[in-house]
């Protein structure tokens, strides 16, 4: 196994050391068995990186993303985000962390269907303590930047998948987080729209220096990232350059 032990880097945005995640399952005999989903994950991600995570279905990609997003907790091991040990933070502190430092983009868009696109984008600002008027105003500007101002008053079910994902990305960006976590953001989109979304990510990464970590099953989506991480059965089996991975392809 070519597990790539990252060099210690105190400036890294994300530092993960010896992280494990397992679920307790009850088997047919009523016995509890441990189902290890992530094993000995060591990972550093610097500010401004664009990382793609790939792996077979069930390999643990989403589990890792949830832990990165402070939505889930590891069974053991350490996770530092912006030099904060996540395990030490209270629920409220984690909520604040998600609000300020992380933007989420999901495969299923996960917009709030009862609200307009504009209000959806404004919600993180409200949770950050902004007032409604200024939140709306900032949300409008954000939608303009993503080319969606025409759809501000539309509800999610009045938007195409690509438009919904753009609204979701606008929402992820509204608090200007240093990190965007995208779990199969193009999974529900056609090739053309997927490309557009990826161009948007690429631009955000290049122009604003936002760190992007995305999970995908598609090679040409992953090709937008500069760094590739391959996960197999809960372990990182490759972590490095896109180009080198192609050489390893037959191995995996």
């Amino acid at each position: 196994m070519s597990t790539n032990q990252p060099a210690p880097s105190p400036s890294a945005l994300i530092r993960i050391a010896q992280l494990h995640k397992s679920y307790k399952l009850i088997d047919a005999d009523g016995k509890t068995i441990e189902n290890a989903v992530l094993q000995n994950i060591n990972l550093n991600i610097e500010k401004g990186e664009f990382v793609a995570i790939m792996g077979h279905s069930g390999s643990g990609k989403s589990t890792l993303m949830n832990i990165l997003g402070c939505l889930d907790t590891p069974t053991s091991g350490d996770y530092w985000l912006e030099n904060q040990n996540v395990a030490m933070l209270s629920n409220d502190a984690l909520a604040r962390l998600r609000n300020r430092y992380i933007g989420f983009v999901f495969q299923g868009f996960n917009l709030l269907n009862r609200m307009t696109a504009l209000d959806n984008v404004a919600v993180p600002l409200l949770y950050a303590g902004e007032n409604r008027a200024s939140s709306r105003q900032q949300a409008m500007e954000q939608l303009r930047r993503t080319g969606l101002e025409k759809f501000a008053m539309h509800h999610p079910n009045q938007l195409s998948g690509g438009q919904q994902q753009r609204v979701a990305i606008s929402r992820a960006l509204i608090n200007q987080p240093p990190l965007i976590l995208a779990d199969e953001p193009t999974g529900n989109l056609d090739t053309q729209t997927s490309q557009e979304i990826m161009v948007l990510f690429e631009r955000l990464n290049r122009e604003q220096g936002i760190t992007i970590v995305l999970v995908t099953h598609e090679k040409d989506i992953a090709a937008y990232a500069r760094r590739l991480i391959l996960i197999k059965d809960g372990s990182i089996v490759y972590d490095g350059d896109q180009a080198l991975e192609n050489a390893l392809d037959p191995v995996i």
């Binding site: 939505l71 909520a95 998600r98 300020r100 999901f106 996960n110 949770y127």
Partner: protein, 397 residues
């Protein structure tokens, strides 16, 4: 709040539980308060330190009012009791009904034959003219004092004092009109009544099989402190006068009306509380309805909760969101319920002749109670929502 609007029917039905609960509480409280107020009004007009002495023994079921065959109490008994040191005055009464005429007007009402002291003991005040005198009683004069309702019915706007009316065809001079008193504790209209000297009544109007016997007498004690003593003295005196040997039952009954009034007040209070408590149960049921619907809502919106948590909602934000929804339902339901309660109380007071009293504190209480129900029953579902793990909530389908 948006969620409430999206599910109008469901919210409306949940609110209905609250509306009915609050309306029931307001209605029941106002009925209870009405009963209390009415009793207090009767008691205020009743006179203080009052006994009623009736002929006949106490039956096991309570008083044997108007047992016409028993003629054991006399005017002389009343006079003797009035001399007791603990007694202020007595008012003996014989009564019946009579036909009154003034010009072409006819009115049938109850007639009370009594003495001047009766008006003092019974806490009557004179509106116009005067009451009849001891001399009128001695001479069995044909003079009459009218109750306010009777005066109104016979005379309308004319001043009755100095006019002559006919009572069972005999002319009587109206000497006075009494101030209105309203209903008695037993619900009788005390103002539809005429008063004549007891002697006149006995000899000319009601007649009397046993001369000197009376229907009942009112006795006023000297003070509230000596009421028990007075009751003993009255009993002893009457036993002595009626020659009742030891071990024999009384042939009369002494009742402390002031004590009965106290019991009536207490009863009305208990009635209020019981009515309120019963109505509160419907409020409780409404509250459970809210809890139920909020739990469904939390389950339905688990994914929404997950999304909100992912984009930065902390537990308090989620808790407050759901709690506010519950309180909103309760508050709006409470408001409509209060209006409905007041409305139905008003309708009841119009349809049947019942006094209902709505006080601000009552409305306030209903509001407070409904909001408390909202907080109480909304809290559990809200906390359930807030304590979800973000990852589990997000994964929920």
């Amino acid at each position: 709040m948006r969620a409430l609007r999206m599910n109008r029917l469901r919210t409306g039905l949940t609110m209905l539980g609250m509306i009915i609960g609050v309306a029931a509480v307001v209605l029941m409280l106002s009925i209870g308060q009405g009963a209390q107020t009415k009793i207090n009004q009767s008691i205020e007009t009743m006179g203080s330190n009052l006994f009623i002495v009736l002929p006949g023994a106490t039956s096991s079921g309570g008083l044997s009012f108007g047992s016409g065959s028993v003629k054991t109490l006399t005017v002389n008994d009343a006079m003797a009791i009035a001399e007791l040191p603990t007694v202020n005055a007595t008012g003996p009464v014989i009564s019946g009904t009579a036909q009154l005429n003034f010009n072409a007007k006819n009115w049938s009402t109850s007639i009370t034959g009594t003495t001047p002291d009766y008006f003092m003991v019974g806490n009557w005040t004179i509106e116009d003219g005067s009451i009849f005198s001891e001399t009128d009683v001695r001479s069995a004069a044909r003079v009459v004092v009218l109750g306010s309702v009777t005066a109104e019915n016979l005379f309308g706007t004319i001043n009755p004092v100095g006019k002559t009316i006919r009572i069972t065809n005999r002319p009587f001079l109206v000497v006075g009109v009494l101030a209105a008193k309203g209903q008695s504790l037993s619900g009788r209209d005390q103002d539809d009544n005429v008063f004549i000297p007891i002697t006149t009544s006995e000899r000319q109007i009601t007649g009397n099989q046993f001369p000197g016997s009376i229907r009942y007498m009112l006795v006023q004690g000297k003070s509230a402190e000596t009421m028990e003593e007075a009751e003993i003295e009255i009993t002893q005196l009457l036993r002595q006068r009626h020659r009742i040997s030891d071990g024999m039952e009384n042939d009369f009954t002494v009742r402390n009306l002031t004590a009965i009034a106290d019991v009536a007040t207490d009863t009305a209070k208990i009635l209020s509380i019981v009515l309120g408590a019963i109505a509160s149960i419907s409020l409780l049921v409404g509250g459970i309805g809210i809890m139920n619907i909020m739990l469904v809502s939390v389950t339905e919106r688990t994914r929404e909760i997950g999304i909100r948590m992912a984009i930065g909602a902390n537990r308090n934000a989620i808790l407050i969101q759901f709690l506010l929804e519950a309180i909103m339902i309760c508050f709006m339901g409470g408001m409509i319920g209060v209006i409905l309660g007041i409305g139905s109380a008003w309708i009841i007071s119009q349809l049947i002749d019942m006094l209902v009293v709505i006080t601000l504190s009552m409305v306030f209480l209903a509001f407070l109670f409904s909001s408390a129900v909202g907080i109480f029953f909304g809290f559990y579902p809200a906390r359930k929502a807030a304590s979800l793990k973000p990852v589990d909530a997000l994964r929920y389908e």
